[in-house]
Amino acid sequence: MFGVRGMSTASEKAILITNYGMGNLGSIVNMFKKVGGKAEICADPARIAAADKLVLPGVGAFDHGMRGLRASGLRDSLEEAVLRRGASVLGVCLGMQLMLEASEEGQMQGLGWIAGRAARFPGGAGCPRVPHMGWNGVRPVRDSPLLPQGEAAQRFYFVHSYKVECADPQDVLAVTEYGQEFCSAFARGNIYGVQFHPEKSHAYGMAMFKRFLEL
């Protein structure tokens, strides 16, 4: 099911998993290897600036993440690669939210690559439990190489208390239902973000990582 058929030569160069002190990087590397890709954890600003493909991972609090990016000195390198050189980047969970302008969770400004903000799921009577934790469907609202439309229902593993609200509806790539419909994946040019954890979503995650390898 996950053979190497169709692997492009572009994936000869390792995907760099941005290490700014946040999140579960080993799992991401393990899954890229499992689908025949090369991935490395990297905190070297020069290599990140020159990367072809990047992952911006992250779990934890928004401000903690932005501080980590600043302290690691990787923000400029990421922007050189992503905004100026057009390297494909995949934000995962908090990494996706950091690409926004702001979050209700923190005071700091986000990277601002995608217009919008992260807002807390509502709580109280009639609302489902927060964090949104577990497996849920992801429905693409437009076609993209990362999450093609027209495939069998896809399920991914989520753990989050804040949800992405894109200012430009054109950026929304997929939606998920949890008490309300929210944006579970976005894409704008070479910038991709997913709220769920593909590295922990076994077969579905492997298929998505394989598609990211082939972008």
Binding site: N30, G123, P131, V159, H202
Partner: protein, 256 residues
């Protein structure tokens, strides 16, 4: 569609997997790496590993084994056993494990859960509570590290741990463990009503119908089971199993 989770809860004792009854008589059931490979193929929702020797004997978590488990595991993984401080919890997460479960040490320390949650975030911090009935039949928190029933009311204890920062609760019914007679739905309902974070219930599952009851009647966010997924038949022959996606969809078919 959001689906409640069905989670194999596996017990580590040394480098092997065991299964207990009423938290006693550990029976060897196999090699954990082999078990993970099977559960990967079966696309399980999540896995919980509890090291029953670590906290009882005061050992450090078995980091070398945990790293191997994490590198084989392509679904979320929760680990509990022997965690007494935030540095240990951080080290476990750095190995590639999503969630850290704290049990005995959180009975003794009122600040541990908060310290771990501040560092790892609430959603990686699981408060695990073992429950038994006292001679009057009242639920009490059981400290399995020292094999003693405490005076703590599980509802108050769980609520305090969530207030301190736990993002998820794992309730393990020691009296029902390994008996496969079903979850204590009264206990499940009481705990689920007491907190607004996700609740995983464990202890007593003997069939998929028990799992459905815990979720649909009890209100649990996830149902965990040991014996159900490692034994088959009345003679408890070791066989790792897990329901298919079709079976799960049918079982939990959206209740309204």
């Amino acid at each position: 569609m959001w689906l409640p989770r069905i989670i194999p809860c596996l017990l580590l004792d040394g480098n092997g997997l065991v299964k207990t009854r009423k938290f006693k008589d550990p029976t060897y059931v196999g090699d954990p790496i082999n078990a993970i490979k099977i559960f990967n193929d079966k696309r399980v929702d999540e896995l919980i590993f509890l090291d029953i020797a670590a906290s009882r004997e005061g050992n450090e978590p078995n980091y070398a084994l945990l790293e191997k488990l994490a590198s084989e595991c392509f679904m979320p993984l929760c680990y509990g056993g022997g965690i007494r401080d935030a540095a240990q919890a951080r080290r476990i997460v750095s190995l590639g494990i999503e969630k850290v479960s704290v049990n005995a040490a959180a009975i003794e320390s009122g600040t541990l859960i908060g310290a771990i949650a501040a560092e790892l975030g609430a959603s990686s911090t699981v408060a695990a509570v073992d429950v038994r009935r006292n001679w009057l039949g009242h639920y009490r928190v059981y400290n399995s590290a020292v094999r003693k029933l405490t005076d703590l009311d599980p509802v108050a204890h769980v609520a305090a741990l969530v207030k301190a920062g736990a993002g998820e609760v794992l309730i393990n019914d020691a009296d029902a463990d390994g008996e496969q007679q079903g979850y204590d739905l009264g206990l499940v309902r009481t705990i689920c009503a007491a907190v607004d974070v996700p609740v995983i219930v464990c202890g007593g599952a003997g069939s998929l119908a028990h799992i459905r009851a815990a979720i649909q009647d009890g209100g649990a966010s996830a149902a965990a089971a040991g014996s159900l997924f490692v034994f088959k038949g009345p003679h408890r022959a070791v066989l790792i199993s897990y329901p298919s996606q079709e079976q799960i969809s049918e079982l939990l078919d959206k209740p309204g």
